[in-house]
Subunit: 211 residues, 3 copies
């Protein structure tokens, strides 16, 4: 009941953030399930995946942690858990859908992270760092907790997409482009990079060391 | 000398916290020893296990970190190390005693975490989150440092006990029950859940995913 | 261009910090390369290795995070990456040089960490803790991200050198020794301990537990 109530008073950007949070939570819950964590463990991993990046960003910027200011992030995670619980048989075939959610979430999180630092008058490189941290740290903590090497270090242009998105935001902001246009361009740009990188298996070269 | 001095000016709740800190520190030191860490590494792991949860809580709530405000947490850890050093041959048979200390520590840490958030006028879900974080994060960091999947994701109702304890605290607080009664009830409740869950191997179901 | 500009306006202590940051970044980049991370992943690991300790220190002390206040830490990391990229064939033979950089960086980071806590009027044990955290946490996060047991738990007197350095700083400061003398003595002391410990394979005993 109050979940829908929550949904009623929020705006378009919140809807996209809602989808992004759910997508990240689902990815965490499914990975935890594959590792045979129990229900509660899976919910914890889902919550950490969805909120970890924003939490570190808010800690570094010394502002109130976003998920202590509104309850909807906890409801999103529980909702994501219900989705996985009800549709787990179909979710394997839904991987494509989840990939899109994850991309859109990443794009939006980059925009949110950049704007939070910008509002505090930080210089460009801090804004780009915070955009990247918001996008990737949740997944990194998830992978540390399930004792794997973070996937962002192996997936195609995951973190690079965040940085490039942050740089595009900086350029458009410097050119005094309208904020709504910047937001949409940046989010779309991040999504496009991820989609192309995944489709064509684009990767950065590997530094060969000792061999 | 000054350790006993420290002990003289503290209250009952501090004594229980003292026991909880020692119990958590002992569990960290013993796990580190099993991984063949040296003395200092074991002390570091012990300190992190005992203080990690409260540290993250204080970071998230943006209040001064508790162990920078009083030296007794460092003395507790060194004392725990001495205990392990002197009684390591008997400690294997003391596992039951340590389990009780750990349970009591968990119960007390839940109360401490809840009250810290409550004192800052945070809503119920934040208080419950902080209670849980105070109880479980120390053990999570310990397990990450020794490169294992955090035990809270595999042990019986470990984190669930914290959440249920937090919910009981919320209900009793809503009903205007006397604070001392709430504190004791919550701590005892957490201990009872853990003891029963361990005795009867109660577990939450596992989400089966891809198979 | 602006890198040299940056260098021009900084002091001797900044030059040593610059070398320390580069040394830590190089160690992170080389370890990440050995794990077959791509370029960007290697840069991230390098940056985290060089700045992780100071970041946790600033979070715990609740002061602005140092690398959000000046861009040179990001330039240092990129510069370290270029060094590894250009000289990777020679870097294997440069291990000795890197070891010295790493030692000097450690010594300097201990001094920086101690002074930051001292300037905020924290008691001695907090200053020593912050000195140690500044020195070791970057390497710990690096090892967690590449999914290894942190090297500080296995290398000779790594963290112990930081603590002893912090204690020396405390004693000299208590004796009202001139600050510049304290800084140099502490840094040299840490370096000497590390060099001797590595040369003579000095180790703390291991706590044998269950066996």
């Amino acid at each position: 009941m109050f979940l829908f109530d929550d949904l009623a008073k929020i705006q378009l950007v919140d809807v996209i953030e809602f989808l992004g949070t759910i997508a990240f939570a689902i990815s965490g819950i499914r990975l935890a399930s594959a590792k045979r964590f129990d229900w509660f463990g899976a919910i914890v991993i889902g919550f950490v995946t969805a909120t970890g990046g924003g939490t570190l960003r808010d800690l570094l910027l010394d502002v109130p942690i976003f998920w202590t200011q509104a309850s909807r992030y906890i409801w999103c995670t529980l909702f994501a858990f219900l989705i996985v619980l009800c549709f787990r048989k179909f979710l394997v075939h839904l991987n494509n859908t989840i990939f899109w959610f994850d991309c859109i979430g990443l794009g939006l999180f980059v925009v949110v992270g950049y704007e939070k630092a910008l509002a505090l008058d930080y210089p460009v490189w801090v804004c780009v760092s915070m955009a990247t941290i918001t996008g990737i740290v949740g997944g990194m903590i998830r992978d540390i907790l399930i004792n794997e090497v973070p996937i962002i270090f192996t997936q195609e242009l995951y973190a690079v997409a965040c940085i490039l998105g942050g740089i595009l935001f900086s350029i458009l902001h410097y050119l005094n482009v309208d904020l709504a246009v910047i937001e949409i361009s940046t989010a779309v740009f991040v999504v496009v990079i991820r989609v192309l990188a995944t489709k064509y298996r684009l990767k950065l070269p590997i530094l060969k060391g000792e061999d």
